[in-house]
C-alpha cells in the first residue's frame, strides 16, 4: 500500500520537514527504569506508555541509549494474573499484525500464548516504524520491519523477568530458564511472569540481548488463530466507527460534485429544521474545494439534514474530467516521446521475425473498505485527540495540527481497529482527518464544544476520490521462433500517485514515479525501453493494495504468456527458463503451485483451461496456477492454487488468509462493474450496485502453499494480488484464442 523502494534514510527527513516546528521525539530521553506501574487491564499491570513514563521519570534516572521503539515498557504489559498485553505499532485492518506481532514478541518473551492479548497503539514515538521513523502501515512492511524489533522487545522483557527472579531467589540469573510464562530455577523452583512483573519493572532495560535460534521457535511458525477471532465473530469488536464519547455528535458533509469545486450558494434552512440537527457549517474540503457539514445527534438526522440542503456549486474553475476523452488523450500521449525508465537498444525490433503489438487499459478503482471512512475529534484547550483507523497516524497528526493551528505534539492519535483500508487510510493530504478537524474547529467556534465524529456514507466513499489511477500501456515486442525477446518497446501512461505529496521528492525521479513502473521487467532480463507519461488530471489518485503491480504484473505476465503460446512453449517451462538460476524464490513458488495444482499431470474437463502467472511484489513472490472456463460469455474462475515465497512464515494461517484475500481483490479487478468512470467531472458510480466487488458466488476453490524458509520474513498483505488477474486471463486466452488486454475483462 506504499512503494517498496522508499529509501528509509530519507523518509524521516521528509516527515521532519512536514512537521516543521515539531520537536517530535518527546520520549527520546526515556529513563532506563521505564517499567512503571499502571492501573490497566485487570488491575495492576506492568509497563506504561512512554508519555506516562516520561511524566513520571525522576531526574536522577540515567538515560538509555535505546530508542523509544526498543523499550519494552511501551509494548508489553504483564498483569498479576499473567496476562500479557502486547501493543502493536501498526493499524490492524485485517492483515493480522495484531496477532503476528504479539507472536513474535511472545516467542522471545517465552510467554504462555493462551494468556497473550493485544491492543492498538498511538502516534507516540515508541510506535514509529523502526525503519521509517513514523507510525505507518503499508507496503506489506509491518512484519518485515518489526520482526527483529519485536523479538528484541520480548527478549528484553524476558531478561528483566529473569533478573527479578534471580534477585528474589538470590541465585545467578544464568541458572534460570523460562517455560511458557514461568521462570524455573534450581531445584524446580517456579514463579509465574505475573508474580515477577512488579519487581521486573524496577530493573534497568538491557541493551544487548541474545535472540533464540529459529529452530527453537515454538510460537512463530505455528498456524495460529487470530487474537481477535472471537470478538470479530460476535459483534463485540469495536472499530473507529463505534467510538462514542459523552455528548458526541455526528457530522456528514456535502462535498462538491466535481473535485475541488466551490459553493456558489447555500440554503440550509430546511436542513436546520430537521429534528436532531444541531448545526450546519461551511467548511474547506480536500483539493481546494468547499463543503457543507451537517452536525447532528446521530448519523440519520445528519444525513436527512444533508439531503435537505439546497446547494449551488461553482465548477467553473476546476477541470471536468471525462473518461472517454481521457482515453483518447492517453492514446495520443502514448505516441509521444517521454522520460525513460529503461533504455535498451531497440535496433533489433524491426528485424525480429515475430511481433506482438498490444494496448492495455486499466480503469480507476475505488478501495471501498467495508467500514466507511470516519474520524472522531475531541478538542480541549490547545490540544486535540483523534480516534481514527489510520495507516499513517504520523502524517495525520501533522495535518490535523496544521488544520487546527496547534503543534503536532499536541495531537494525540488513538489508532482504532479499522474495517479494511487497502491503501485508502494512508493519504498524503489526510483528507478525511483534516475534514473532521475542520468540523470540530467550526463547532467549537460556534460554541459546540463536544466530540465530533465525521462519518462518510458509502456514496461519499465511492464518489469521494483517491482511486487507483487509470492506466494505458502500449507494448511492441520483437521475438524469435523460440520465444526469445529481441527488443521490447513499452509505454505507460497514467497519473502519478506521488506527485504533489510528501513522497514526491524522493520517489519521483527524472519525471517518473517509481510506483508506476514497479513490477515492470523484474525479474526477467529483457531488452526493454520503458517510456512513462504522467498526465495531470483533476482526479485524486492513490496506491491501492499492491500499488503499481496492480497493472504492471498483468501486462508482464499476459504478454510473456502470449509469447510462450505463440511459439508453442509451455508457459511454466518458458518462465522457468527465464528465471534461470538467478531467481530461486520465483522458481520455488511456481514449482510449488505447479506440483500442488496437478498442472501438467491432470487432464481438465472439456471447456476448462490452465492459467499461470508469477510476480514478486514487496519482496514476496506469489505464483498462481488456476483453472478457468467461459460460461454464458463470462470468464469464470474455478480453482486457484498459490505458491508463496515470503521467507519465514510467522503465522501460516494468517498468510493463507492474506493470499486468499488478496487474490479475491485481484479477481475483483476482472469482474464486470469493477471500474470508476467520470462524466463531465462527476464520478458515475456511487455504491456497491454500480461499483461491484466479488461476492461468494464468484469465488474459486482455493489452496495456498508456502515454500519453507528460515530467512527473515517478508510481508504478505499485498503480494497475493498481482498475479491472480493475469493467471485468470491467460487461462481465458487459451480457451478463446484471444488475449485479454483490458480490465475488467471484456470478451466482446
Amino acid at each position: 500500500m506504499m512503494p517498496t523502494h522508499i529509501d528509509p534514510t530519507e523518509l524521516p527527513r521528509v516527515l521532519q520537514h512536514l512537521m516543521e516546528r515539531s520537536n517530535a521525539d518527546t520520549t527520546a530521553t526515556l529513563p532506563r527504569r521505564s517499567f512503571l506501574k499502571l492501573a490497566g487491564v485487570g488491575g495492576l499491570a506492568l509497563g506504561a506508555f512512554p508519555y506516562l513514563a516520561n511524566a513520571q521519570a525522576t531526574a536522577s534516572a540515567a538515560a538509555s541509549a535505546l530508542k523509544p521503539t526498543q523499550l519494552p515498557s511501551a509494548f508489553v504489559q504483564i498483569a498479576p494474573n499473567g496476562e500479557v498485553t502486547v501493543t502493536i505499532n501498526r493499524l490492524e485492518f485485517g492483515q493480522g499484525v495484531q496477532t503476528g506481532l504479539p507472536m513474535i514478541l511472545a516467542e522471545e518473551l517465552d510467554a504462555d500464548w493462551s494468556l497473550v492479548r493485544s491492543k492498538c497503539g498511538t502516534n507516540d514515538a515508541a510506535y514509529h516504524d523502526p525503519m521509517f521513523g513514523m507510525h505507518l502501515t503499508g507496503g506489506s512492511n509491518s512484519i518485515k520491519n518489526s520482526y527483529t524489533q519485536y523479538r528484541e522487545l520480548g527478549a528484553r522483557a524476558r531478561a528483566m523477568l529473569l533478573s527479578a527472579a534471580a534477585a528474589q531467589w538470590n541465585v545467578d540469573a544464568a541458572t534460570l530458564r523460562t517455560q511458557a510464562g514461568t521462570v524455573i530455577g534450581p531445584g524446580g523452583r517456579k514463579a509465574g511472569y505475573g508474580a515477577l512483573a512488579e519487581a521486573a519493572m524496577a530493573l534497568p532495560v538491557p541493551e544487548k540481548v541474545t535472540l533464540k535460534d529459529p529452530k527453537d521457535f515454538r510460537i512463530i511458525g505455528q498456524p495460529t488463530t487470530r487474537l481477535d477471532a472471537r470478538a470479530k465473530s460476535s459483534g463485540r469488536q469495536d472499530f473507529g466507527i463505534d467510538v462514542k464519547h459523552p455528548g458526541q455528535l455526528t457530522a456528514v458533509v456535502a462535498r462538491p460534485p466535481v473535485f475541488g469545486a466551490r459553493l456558489a450558494s447555500v440554503d440550509d434552512s430546511a436542513a436546520r429544521a430537521v429534528k436532531g440537527v444541531q448545526a450546519v457549517f461551511r467548511i474547506p474540503v480536500d483539493l481546494g474545494g468547499e463543503g457543507v457539514a451537517v452536525v447532528a445527534d446521530g448519523y440519520w438526522p445528519a444525513k436527512l439534514g444533508r439531503d435537505a440542503l439546497k446547494l449551488q456549486w461553482d465548477t467553473s474553475a476546476v477541470e471536468k474530467v471525462d473518461s472517454e476523452k481521457q482515453l483518447a488523450q492517453y492514446r495520443a500521449l502514448a505516441q509521444q516521446p517521454g522520460p525513460r525508465k529503461f533504455d535498451a537498444d531497440l535496433s533489433a525490433l524491426d528485424k525480429a521475425p515475430h511481433h506482438i503489438e498490444a494496448e492495455f487499459l486499466f480503469p480507476y478503482l475505488a478501495h471501498a473498505p467495508m467500514e466507511p471512512l470516519n474520524c472522531t475529534v475531541r478538542l480541549a484547550g490547545d490540544s486535540a485527540e483523534l480516534w481514527v483507523g489510520t495507516q499513517s497516524a504520523g502524517l495525520d497528526a501533522a495535518a490535523a495540527a496544521k488544520a487546527l493551528g496547534i503543534q503536532p505534539e499536541q495531537v494525540k492519535v488513538h489508532v482504532q481497529m479499522a474495517g479494511g483500508g487497502f491503501g485508502r487510510r494512508f493519504v498524503g493530504s489526510s483528507d478525511y482527518v483534516v475534514e473532521a478537524c475542520q468540523i470540530a474547529k467550526a463547532a467549537r467556534t460556534a460554541g459546540l464544544n463536544v466530540p465530533v465524529r465525521l462519518l462518510w456514507s458509502r456514496e461519499d466513499d465511492i464518489k469521494g476520490g483517491y482511486y487507483r489511477p487509470m492506466h494505458l500501456h502500449r507494448a511492441h515486442i520483437g521475438f524469435d521462433a523460440r520465444g526469445k525477446v529481441l527488443a521490447w518497446d513499452h509505454t505507460i501512461v497514467g497519473q502519478s500517485i506521488l506527485v504533489g505529496t510528501v513522497f514526491e521528492s524522493f520517489q519521483v525521479k527524472d519525471g517518473i514515479d517509481a510506483t508506476a513502473t514497479e513490477g515492470m521487467r523484474d525479474p526477467y532480463d529483457l531488452p526493454m525501453r520503458l517510456t512513462v507519461h504522467h498526465p495531470k488530471l483533476n482526479v485524486p489518485v492513490l496506491w491501492w493494495r499492491s500499488v503499481g503491480s496492480t497493472h504492471t504484473a498483468f501486462v508482464m505476465e499476459t504478454l510473456l504468456d502470449d509469447i510462450a503460446r505463440s511459439t508453442g512453449q509451455d508457459p511454466v517451462a518458458y518462465r522457468m527458463a527465464l528465471f534461470g538460476d538467478k531467481h530461486p524464490r520465483h522458481r520455488a513458488a511456481l514449482q510449488l503451485a505447479v506440483d500442488r495444482s496437478g498442472y501438467g499431470k491432470t487432464t481438465l474437463p472439456p471447456g476448462r483451461a490452465w492459467g499461470v502467472a508469477v510476480h514478486e511484489s514487496f519482496e514476496t513472490v506469489v505464483a498462481y496456477v488456476v483453472e478457468a472456463s467461459v460460461q454464458d460469455g463470462q470468464p469464470v474462475l474455478h480453482r486457484a492454487t498459490a505458491g508463496v515465497h515470503c521467507n519465514l512464515a510467522v503465522n501460516p494461517r494468517s498468510i493463507e488468509a492474506q493470499i486468499q484475500g488478496a487474490a479475491v481483490m485481484g479477481l475483483s479487478m476482472c469482474l464486470p462493474g469493477a471500474a470508476i468512470t467520470l462524466k463531465d467531472g462527476v464520478v458515475e458510480q456511487s455504491n456497491f450496485g454500480d461499483f461491484t466487488v466479488p461476492r461468494i458466488t464468484d469465488i474459486p476453490a482455493f489452496a495456498v502453499h508456502i515454500v519453507p524458509s528460515a530467512e527473515p520474513p517478508k510481508g504478505v498483505g499485498e503480494p497475493g494480488l498481482p498475479p491472480l488477474a493475469p493467471a485468470f486471463a491467460n487461462a481465458i486466452a487459451l480457451l478463446t484464442g484471444k488475449p485479454l488486454r483490458q480490465l475488467p475483462f471484456n470478451l466482446a
Binding site: G235, I241, G298, M370, A663, F688
Partner: protein, 157 residues
C-alpha cells in the same frame, strides 16, 4: 415513542419512525455490533433478524418493526441461541475474520439460513453460496465463510 422488541427486551427509542433500525440500534441504543456498510441493502453488513428473517436494517424503518421481534448479533452469539452458537464457534474455528467488519452481518445471514434448513438436511455448496451471496466481504474471506457455514451445519445435524 416507538417501542422496539430487541433481543428479548422492550426498548423505547425517541426517534422518528422513519429512522432505519440500524441507526436506532447504533446511535440511539448504543448497540454497535450491527454495522453500517452501504445504507442501501447492497452489502449485508447491517443484517439483523426480524421475526427470524434476515433483513437489512439500513433500509428497514423502525415503524416496520412494531410488534415484531428484532434479534441482533449480540444476542445471536451470546450462547443463548443454539444455531448462533454453532455459527460463532465455526467462525472462530475457521478463523474467518480478517478486518472483521462485515462478519456480524455474515453471521446473521448464516444463522438465518441454517435456522431455515429442514432438520437433518445438510446444505449443498451451491445453497450455501446462494444464502450468503447478499453479504460482501472486501477482505475476501469467502473461502473460510463457505467452510464455516458447512461445518456449523454439520455440528447442528
Amino acid at each position: 415513542m416507538p417501542t422496539l422488541h430487541i433481543n428479548g427486551r422492550d426498548l423505547t427509542v425517541d426517534t422518528d419512525p422513519g429512522t432505519p433500525i440500524l441507526w436506532a440500534l447504533r446511535d440511539t441504543l448504543g448497540m454497535t455490533g450491527t454495522k453500517f456498510g452501504c445504507g442501501a441493502a447492497l452489502c449485508g453488513a447491517c443484517t439483523v433478524h426480524l421475526d427470524g428473517q434476515a433483513i437489512r436494517s439500513c433500509i428497514t424503518p423502525i415503524s416496520a418493526a412494531e410488534g415484531k421481534k428484532i434479534k441482533t448479533i449480540e444476542a445471536t452469539t451470546d450462547g443463548s441461541d443454539r444455531v448462533g452458537a454453532a455459527v460463532h464457534a465455526a467462525w472462530v474455528q475457521h478463523d474467518v475474520a480478517q478486518c472483521g467488519y462485515c462478519q456480524s452481518g455474515q453471521i446473521m445471514s448464516a444463522t438465518a439460513f441454517l435456522q431455515s434448513q429442514p432438520k437433518g438436511k445438510q446444505p449443498t455448496a451451491a445453497e450455501i453460496d446462494a444464502a450468503m451471496a447478499g453479504n460482501i466481504c472486501r477482505c475476501g474471506t469467502y473461502a473460510r465463510i463457505r467452510a464455516a457455514v458447512a461445518d456449523a451445519a454439520k455440528a447442528l445435524a
